[in-house]
Symmetry: C2
Subunit: 358 residues, 2 copies
């Protein structure tokens, strides 16, 4: 659709006019890296930064989609527009569950102020994290106030939600309890808040206690830096208590992830999640952490585009491919090896790599 | 350990002498890309190609590890040495299941002719597929006769078993039936054989029928090329039957994946899987497909090393990082965009990229 200048211009105009069909087309162009996607994103760069990007992650079956739908409703009730990106990087074996989630989403999908896109696994040349960021950019440029990014799993190399979102919520259920210990490090790194969903089930309190114990350990070291005028003697309290109080008294400099309880099927606890996300965003702004996170995101984006460009320039080049084919015989016999061939390939590719994209 | 020339030489000697401690150390060096890993692999390149690399993939809970253990036992009974690489690229939420698999593996792990390595998710700079191939190279160079590579999931961008193994078996259970349809394309592309495990459970026959129906569709087109002297009129039979017969009469030019039944908990069906893997390997050799697959693997390896080298050279370079930091302000305001910065970065990185690794 971006093959002709006029189609491209029309899309830009319709997008600027807030037409939803143009948004849907722009998202598709960017998601699939169709011709012209980089020009679209480059043009919209100055418009970015108004939306709050909120990540929800957790194991399959934690109720992330139901919670997402409730958050969408809450933001809509507050007059805010919402974009949702649902990402499932896991095996196609979970296809069934995703379909269920999609159906739950339909209740909010008819609203004009809501845009929902499910993203499938991208090919290895793409990069799921980068593409998710790019689609979020499109929603941001369109003027969405909140962007909810729902992902499966925590701490995966392929998609680290905390590098994509401004705030990240980790959603767990009582059944997740057994695996908390193994997740510890990964969870602590990415969670800005925890949601214990299905909190009416047995084991919810135990899970919450475990999480708060973990957070207490972290708060223990973070609190050493709390100025004395806070006037609270935390030293004699148990770590979970310390963590809870630290979360309440979070100031510009400190944030301890709160642990919230929800029963998403009957909307219980949703206002508290919305409030916690608001609090966290204000903390991000005041502390300078928002700028740090967004700069890191921009850095990630550049690095990804560079690597993408390198792959494009090398592996779509007929000369490079023919040269590589010629090396295979020596590799087969062991007369050469992949490392020597790689070095030689790079040595001969200077002009190709350093060209400027037209 | 490879920091000194003498330690490196010692490892090489011990490895050549078949010492298992040296194998374990070499695998660790390669898996973690420690200093000198590329020299090790380059040195061993001429020794590669003797092992048969066999992939087992399928959903969590399909009993892949139990089946792997049975195959190990069968190969050991035949006097063959076996290396096992168990890869779990999925979320740490499945950590518990992996642990259970490890325990099941212990029954074979004490045997001197068996080497087992579980690989965790690699960081984003590594690349799970490439690292798995490299570890398989180490096992191959050591002289293992069979290398079993066990992975979770099918058709994932991150780890396509059919590009790593010579033969790939997809292991399913009756409970997988519902998701077969969504997997269709991915399954057909990678499976050289199907194993319906836990075949004593309800639904096993239905699953097998579904798979054979799928295969029949594929066989239908493949069989148009079967020479007339095969003397079998396939045209009037049902597709599932056609597929089964085609699998039996597979010749040098054709292969239709057989669908095998196992009950891994009591070893039922294992000899048939071993036999099918042998048949498939002979087909690969006779048809020239083995050489095609292995050339593709070598090509993949070079491409991965090239991309790894590019990342190393760019992102570990202090000058490049400082330059990139200087661009962030313009990105924040929208005065520039990630695509323009990426192009400029590549334009200034020619010498860095085309150097030869010392």
């Amino acid at each position: 659709m971006t093959t002709t200048a006029s189609a491209y211009d029309q899309l830009m105009r319709d997008f600027a006019d807030g037409k939803r069909a143009a948004l849907a087309r722009a998202v598709s162009v960017v998601e699939n890296h169709r011709a012209g996607f980089d020009r679209l994103l480059a043009t919209w760069q100055p418009r970015l930064g108004r939306a709050r990007r909120l990540g929800l992650t957790g194991p399959p079956g934690a109720g992330k989609s139901t919670l997402t739908a409730l958050l969408v409703k809450a933001y809509r009730d507050a007059g805010l527009s919402v974009g949702v990106i649902a990402v499932d990087p896991t095996s196609p074996f979970t296809g069934g569950a995703l379909l269920g989630d999609r159906i739950r989403m339909e209740s909010v999908a008819l609203d004009e102020g809501v845009f929902i896109r499910s993203m499938a696994t991208r090919g290895s040349l793409g990069g799921l994290a980068a593409t998710t960021s790019e689609v979020a950019d499109v929603l941001d440029a369109f003027g969405m106030d909140r962007i909810l990014i729902e992902t499966v799993g925590v701490g995966q190399s392929e998609l680290d939600i905390s590098r994509i979102a401004d705030s990240s919520a980790v959603v767990l259920v009582p059944e997740s309890g057994d695996s908390i210990q193994t997740l510890k490090a990964g969870l602590m790194e990415i969670a800005d808040l925890f949601v214990v969903n299905k909190a009416d089930r047995p084991g919810a309190d135990r899970l919450r206690n475990e999480l708060e114990l973990m957070l207490g350990l972290r708060a223990g070291s973070a609190l050493r830096d709390v100025p004395a005028h806070h006037g609270v003697d935390l030293s004699r309290k148990n770590p979970a208590r310390v963590a809870r109080e630290a979360a309440k008294q979070t100031d510009a400099e400190h944030w301890t992830p709160p642990v919230l309880r929800t029963v998403a099927t009957n909307a219980e606890g949703t206002p508290e999640v919305v409030a916690a996300l608001d609090r966290h965003f204000h903390y991000l702004e005041r502390s300078g952490e928002l700028r740090r996170r967004r700069r890191r995101r921009l850095r990630d984006r550049v690095m990804h585009v560079v690597e993408d460009r390198v792959r494009d320039r090398l592996w779509r080049d007929a000369g490079t491919n023919a040269w590589l084919d010629d090396q295979l015989a020596a590799l087969e016999t062991g007369a050469s090896n992949p490392f020597a061939v790689a070095d030689a390939l790079l040595a001969r590719s200077g002009t190709l790599l350093t060209q400027v994209t037209p």
